[in-house]
Structures are given as C-alpha cells and as structure tokens.
Symmetry: C2
Subunit: 313 residues, 2 copies
C-alpha cells in the first residue's frame, strides 16, 4: 500500500444555481481517494454508518480503493452535510451539518496502512491528525489539510501538528489566517519555518502555488466556462497531487511541480459536475490531454531583451 488517506466519508446534499442533489457520496477522504486512484493504490481510513450501502462501497471498489480501514458503525448514521452555492460559487453556505458517527471518529490504521509510503491527513481535528502522524514511523511523506475552524479554535495544536508533517495543502485564505500575515509570500515563509518542507496553496479560480525552501512555483487554474459544483475541489486537487507523487520513485521538485498540474487537472474536472460524478468516469487520456493543455497555456520562450540604446541610466 503506497498511499493512505485519513478523513471524512459523507453524504452531501448540494444546491447550486444549476441544479440539486439531495444525497450523494461526499467527504474529504472520498474526493481525495477517487482522484488519487487514477495514479496509485489508495487505502481509505474513515468511519461510516449503517446507511452506507453496497452502492457506495462499489464506487470505492471500482477504483481499487482499499476500504479495509473504513469502519462501519452499524447502528449509527454517516456524516451528512448540506449546503448551497449562489452565483458566486466560491462561497459555500452551510445549511445543515449532522456529524453523526464522524463526531467520535478515532482513526484506526491497520498494519498495511501504517506502512504506507505516503499519507494524507484530511481536514479533521488536529490532535487526531497528530496521533495518526506519530504512528507513521516509516512514511516517506505526510501531508495535511485543515480549515478555518481549526485555525480559530485549536491553533496551538494545529501548529504542533504542522511541525510534524512534510507538506501542508491549504487554500490562500487559510495560509494568511494561519500565519496571521496578510502577504501570502511572507505567510508561506512563516509556515515553512515551522518545519514542513513544502506548502501547497490552493487559490481556486486563480490556480495554485508551491512554496519550498527557496523555490516558488505557480500555475493558473484551468479556464472553465462553467463551474457546476465546487464541493470537494480542494480534496480532489490533493488526491491528484499526492496520487501522482505516490506513483513516483523519489520525490523531488520536478515531480512536485508535475503533481501540482495533476492536482489542478483533477480539480478542474471535479467542478464540472455534481460531487464525484465527473471524476468517477474519467479516463487517463482525458487527464493527460488536460495536462498537455496546461503546458500549452503556460508556455513561453525565454528570450532576454536588450535594447540597442540604453536609457534611464
């Protein structure tokens, strides 16, 4: 097993200006694992209730996602989130949150999961993330996501957890909030100074950026004429990013940069339809084609300019 994700598995109800789903498969670990499954074998660690049916398990199975560590609490209900997006699809309005079995989630990693080369700690309570991290003695690379609630309510624990991971994958508002610094570049440097070797900044329609010690890489987002449902885009990005790295021997800057593109590619597909619907039926050819488009839309020749007459000096 080379890639494990720990996080939420949920049912989502989503309303957008373009349509509605009352109950569909969602959650951070779900979006992450389906996206990553196009690149490598994935093990999912989470908890669901007795209402999680064969149909949902089949989705994971079709993508070779190992659900051995997906605990089923037969007499409980699966985490449920319901939200609405208006025309500004950047803002999710939460209408309902039922934590259900997720309220008492205690990640339990099997021996196989504990031996994963790469681990992604999805957005859960930072103490839990740290407990999992501490069990991963041999992991080559551990990444985490978080959210504004943990930054506000459990900042100290979160910073402690961040000190122990290799990569932080969060959005730009979270970077600024976490570092208490309005300038993104300064904020990124501050977070890296705590210990991680890389910071991945998700910027939605503006693309993504990768900070490592002394290097900076940035890409625009894929230009979409319509965004249908942004739910799970960040986790789908992380799944493409980590999945590609998991498939790669030796993780270096060049591989991380390509991983940023694959993350962006997967996220761009995710938002084209509700939930995981579009990503579920992706093909490798579609993924590679969009990767090539990224290359085309960012390519320019490096030809330094020298004016014959030197002015202003």
């Amino acid at each position: 097993m080379s890639l494990t994700v720990v996080g939420s598995v949920a049912f989502d109800g989503v309303e957008t200006p373009f349509g509605k789903r009352d109950k569909m498969l969602g959650g951070s670990a779900t979006h992450f694992s389906i996206s990553a499954s196009f690149f490598d074998d994935v093990n999912i660690v989470g908890v669901v209730g007795g209402d999680f049916t064969r149909a949902e398990f089949d989705v994971f199975e079709r993508h070779n996602i190992d659900t051995s560590d997906l605990e089923v609490v037969a007499d409980g209900k699966t985490f449920f989130w319901r939200g609405r997006y208006d025309f500004d699809l950047n803002i999710a309005h939460t209408l309902e949150t039922q934590l259900n079995v997720f309220a008492d989630f205690q990640p339990k990693l099997s021996a196989a999961s504990l031996k994963s080369r790469l681990v992604f700690l999805g957005n859960i309570q930072p103490d839990l993330q740290r407990e999992v991290r501490e069990q991963l003695k041999d992991a080559e690379l551990v990444a985490l996501d978080t959210m504004n609630m943990w930054i506000e309510q459990t900042r100290e624990s979160l910073v402690e957890t961040i000190k122990g991971v290799d990569i932080v994958i969060i959005n730009d508002a979270e970077v600024r909030q976490l570092a208490s610094e309005p300038n993104l570049i300064k904020a990124a440097r501050k977070i890296l100074s705590w210990g991680p070797s890389a910071l991945v900044v998700k910027r939605g329609e503006y693309g993504a950026a990768l900070f490592t010690d002394g290097t900076y890489f940035a890409i625009p987002a894929y230009p979409l004429e319509s965004v249908f449902d942004p739910t799970g885009a960040g986790d789908t990005f992380a799944g493409g990013f980590m999945g590609y790295l998991a498939s790669h021997d030796g993780i270096n800057e060049a591989a991380m940069r390509r991983a940023m593109i694959f993350g962006s590619v997967m996220a761009s597909f995710n938002v084209e339809e509700f939930g995981t619907e579009r990503v579920q039926r992706l093909t490798h050819e579609e993924i590679n084609e969009r990767f090539r488009t990224f290359k085309k839309m960012t390519h320019f020749e490096e030809i330094p300019f020298q004016r014959a007459v030197t002015v202003g000096q």
Copy 2:
C-alpha cells in the same frame, strides 16, 4: 516613432501604510511611457499645466520619451489625484480629484505620432479614444485601457470604440462588468466577439491572462513580499507589454506571450516603491533577471502519466 501613448499626465498624492508622497509625477501615460521606454522609442500625447516644471520634463527626456505632443496650458494646472491605500493595497480610496487642464483634453497627434506602428489609448473618455483611433490609418496595432466609470456611464460609446481596436488591456473586474458576465472565460469570449484580436486581463496579485481567438495564456504574478504603492501598476504593465511588442518585428502569439511577461516584470518593479521611482532607475539586467525568474517559477516538464492498471472504466 514606433509607439505612441495617449493618456493622462498628472501629479499624484499618495498615502499608504508605509509612507506618503504629497506630489509626485503620475498619470496613465506617464507610467506607461517610462515603462515602455526600456523597450522602444515612445511618444507621449497629453496635456499639462504651467505647474509642470523642468524636473518633470527631465524625467521623460532621460528616458528618450518624445514630449512634442505633450501640450502645455501655461495658465492652467496639471491634473491632480490624491488617494490612500490601507493594508488591503488592492483598493484605492480617492481623496481628491482635480481634473484641471485634463477636463478639456483634446488629444492632438502630430504627423510623427500619427505614423506610429503601435498606439496605446490610455484610460480616457471613449469618444476621445475613438476619435484618435480613426485618425490612425496606418497603425499596425492599437490597444486601449478603460475603467469602471466609462463602462457605467458611456457603455455604448466604449463598445463602439472597442470594435475598432486590436487589443483591450483591462483588469478582471472590468472584463466581467463590461461583458455583464460573471465567468471570466465567457466574458472574455464575448469581448473578443466584438472585434479585438486579443484581450489582456490584469489580475493584480493573481497575475495576468491573454485571450486570443482560440488560445489562452495565463501567468502568475511575481511573488512580492511587500507591495509599497500599487498606483500605476496597470499602466506600467501595459507599457512593458506594448513596449516589447513595439520593439519586435512581426507580432505573433509567441511575442505576445513574452510581452505578457515583460508587462508583469515592469508592474512588479513599479509597486516596490512610490509612483515611478523604482521603474525610473531600472536596468536592463534587472528586467532580464526577473524575466528569467518568471520562466523558473512557471516551468514544469510535460510527462504524461499512464497507470499500469486502468481503473474506473
């Protein structure tokens, strides 16, 4: 003369959290021309008052900017703008606007200016922009900038003016407002459908994008740890963009992409100090070095991925 700019020449008073200038050289044509002067000869068309001194003319002269078409109204005063930026440097708060001689500005182009290969119509009343455009029988490329006020107050005239130019260079909020379309990609396609062959979208800290018929190019902004004064960044971008194109024989997609980088490079220097102060003392080596940094921070290898086991199909 291969590049002419028509626009405002002004004195600016600027306050930011980092300092203050009571009166410094500013205006769209000023920022544009100084930036463009690093790439080609520039002719500036504008109007100033009797308070415009030798010191200001010297700035243009040092950059080989031809001021023959910079009209002086001896008994009038130069356009004055005073504004403040708070910690969110994206928002300019106007404190005072004295149009002065600019209120009656009627661009007068000499025979030399009328023969320019490239012309930039800075942000002035769209009727005036169109009048100038109609006199330019032989120009190879005419670009324009505008602002929210003209979109709101003189939309019909502005659209008519846009129909007659080759390139529109505006910011992303203006693209959406002008096209009455919240999605940037759709909005861009709509504006291109009116006639221009290219649309350049300035996105501030998020970079810039270039739309042509069927192609899309996007770049991040240069990562700045501190932005000192954003006044004139857009015009400085346009100056680098048009200046580079003016220096180039034959304008094609590859040249436009490099022009986007040079525009971004010049804008990134502009915001490092007050007004035109940083750009005035730039060297070609500094410009080229930052161009190379853009290449480094956007480069990735195109290696398509193929997973051994095909899943999800």
